[in-house]
Symmetry: C2
Subunit: 388 residues, 2 copies
């Protein structure tokens, strides 16, 4: 199958591109290199060294004999984007081509508007490109579990049947996103649902939990094929930051009480979930939603897990609660349904044990690359002008 991957140079995009290439698909990566630009903008770098996009693709060919096509372009650039659709004629589209973190979107007005512009208007270009040049292509879009927020009821997969005053309807699950980034994903979901309805496109919206891990069957083949490991305050998720903190003997810092509970998924399962989604398109005009997570943890549980695992690497690490830079509930109900992808055949890989030890070993092996001053949060949700 011809599969176009928007954002195929990113943390998930690159392992996804290799995985699908390994399964025998013809893969084209389309990426603006925005994520690499953010490193330059803020003085960040991946904890595990990564090669350039060109070196990655060349190494993949050298190691496996398989070709991944590479195009540098932005979803906001209609000329380049529509050209990629016309020339490659994708049968499936994996859309990871967005600014992907909450703190970046909350830095200041400029970064908030950039996130909205890039994600929402970029995705609108994608929808028009599908309609005009690849109307039968199955659009697999990465959303986030953060779109739902933390309602006091079970979170269904995209839709909920509501009984009200003696009548009923199945409606989009109400969303309560917690940052301009998460809002941009909610807007995407509404726009995509509409495009399917009016133009007959077919889309799968994957509301993904927090992804962890850096190792897949393909990244293991050669160090030049490694994917990113972000530990900074903007792009590093809590688990990654905790691993980096443990590696350098810096106390593990929990935001607030730490009762904030989220869904999680191993990167090995992410690449498989996206393949399962690709292989199971909805009908023409259909818009289906899966919640893409396999476990759930509170921030405090993650911190304690890293702390209790550290001695296996000969490390002792303290745990501290710091002021929460976000505006969010620190104790809440959280029970998302996530059966759709399991029914399609997903066999989960869980965090505890070898996977977590592997992540911490990677952090320890690269501990000289940790810049401690990049870990502590300076971006506050309450301010509109946050310096890094």
């Amino acid at each position: 199958m011809r599969i176009l991957i928007l954002g195929g140079d990113g943390y998930l995009g690159w392992p996804q591109a290799m995985y699908l290439s390994a399964q025998g698909h013809e893969v084209m990566v389309y990426d603006s290199l925005m994520r690499r630009h953010f490193d330059l903008e803020n003085g960040f770098d991946s904890l595990v060294p990564i090669t350039t996009p060109q070196e990655r693709v060349a190494a993949w060919k050298e190691v496996t004999g398989k070709e991944v096509h590479l195009r540098i372009g932005d979803t906001r650039d209609w000329t380049l984007l529509s050209k990629a659709f016309q020339e490659f004629q994708p049968e499936a589209l994996v859309h990871l081509g967005e600014q992907r973190t909450a703190p970046y979107s909350m830095m200041d007005r400029e970064h908030a508007l950039f996130t909205m512009d890039n994600n929402v208007l970029g995705t609108m270009n994608v929808l028009y490109a599908l309609k005009d040049y690849a109307p039968d292509c199955h659009h697999v879009k990465l959303g986030t579990m953060g779109e739902y927020g933390t309602p006091n009821i079970d979170i269904e997969e995209g839709f909920i049947e509501i009984n009200h005053n003696g009548r009923k309807d199945t409606l989009p699950f109400p969303k309560q996103p917690g940052s301009f980034y998460h809002l941009s994903k909610v807007h995407d979901s509404h726009n995509i649902m509409f495009a399917c309805r009016i133009w007959g496109l077919r889309s799968t919206d994957l509301n993904q939990g927090v992804v962890y891990g850096i190792e897949t069957e393909e990244t293991k083949l050669d160090p030049r094929l490694a994917t990113r490991f972000d530990y900074d305050q903007i792009y590093g998720t809590a688990l990654n930051r905790f691993c980096a903190q443990a590696a350098v003997g810096y106390p593990i810092t929990v935001h607030g009480k730490g009762g904030q509970t989220r869904g999680f998924i191993n990167i090995r399962d992410t690449v498989r979930c996206i393949e399962l989604a690709i292989l199971n398109p909805p009908e023409e005009g259909g818009y289906q939603v899966f919640n893409q997570l396999t476990e759930q943890f509170s921030v405090l549980q993650l911190a304690e897990l890293v702390q209790s695992t550290a001695p296996e690497l000969g490390i002792e690490v303290a745990l501290e609660h710091i002021e929460n830079p976000r505006v969010e509930l620190e104790e809440h109900y959280f029970n998302p349904v996530h059966t759709g992808l399991l029914k399609l055949g997903l066999q989960p890989h869980f965090l505890q044990g070898a996977v977590l030890i592997g992540m911490m070993q990677a952090a320890v092996a690269n501990k000289d690359r940790v810049d401690k001053k990049l870990i502590a949060p300076t971006v506050s949700w309450r301010k509109t002008d946050n310096a890094i």
Copy 2:
């Protein structure tokens, strides 16, 4: 009270500015003149002649002795927008400053992205301006009943209590908008709700029905104070188009079966509703929603109303069903709650009788200005490249 009106030169904005000025408020109009530009772009014009923004403001001063401050600027222009906030220090903000029709947003990719950019990113600038320069200002934002779509349950005012698997929560009412314009308003609503939550802003979101009528106490004072009467396929609502069709003896054209049912409100009630909203702000951090409509009609009911009223003006007019250019249900349940503004004191003015006759008389008086070829729909929801 110092009241800033974004979009204060438009169909609603100008009568709103005069009304609030007449009540003794200090009013500043901030407008990009976008609506006038759309006339130039597409060869449209108001059926009832209107004066320039500068002439309007001068005439208002001449007739009433009251001053309305006028600034030409775009919400997307942060420098001008933030300057207006800093210099005028508004205590209330009426936000009508958006691209306001569905067909315009569905013309093609460029118009869709323009609508999203202008409305969503413009409103994000407004939220940042409020936070940075007028955090106590009450933000009264015009949304639309079209945000809800046509669910098979009663439509509540913004929020709905959902009972699910033995638990309950009050959540944002699920939205199913039917055009990129309506989507942009849904995105605004989500963004505003979030800004209230994290920054403590206070906002009222008015989900307004279709507004009809051109006469308020203030527009009547002088012909130079008139507001727009749009009858074209892009900016003219069904009722306005039907009045224009009757005036020139062109058959009244109903889209599809005509069972599409929507909420309606008289322009006299709109200006009063917005005042009522201004006078009843939510608490700090509060986000409240009112459904701003007083009656509901199907498209076919409106057509028959115009047809049956026409003989009172000595006109006979036929009625035709044409292919529906939109993708929408033509028969559906529709029962929106709209008690919030009534409880605040709204006394509705209804359509039938003198108001409708007045609208039809205005159309007849200006029938030489009707360009028949602008009435028939050419913008189809199913296409991505619509010529006008």
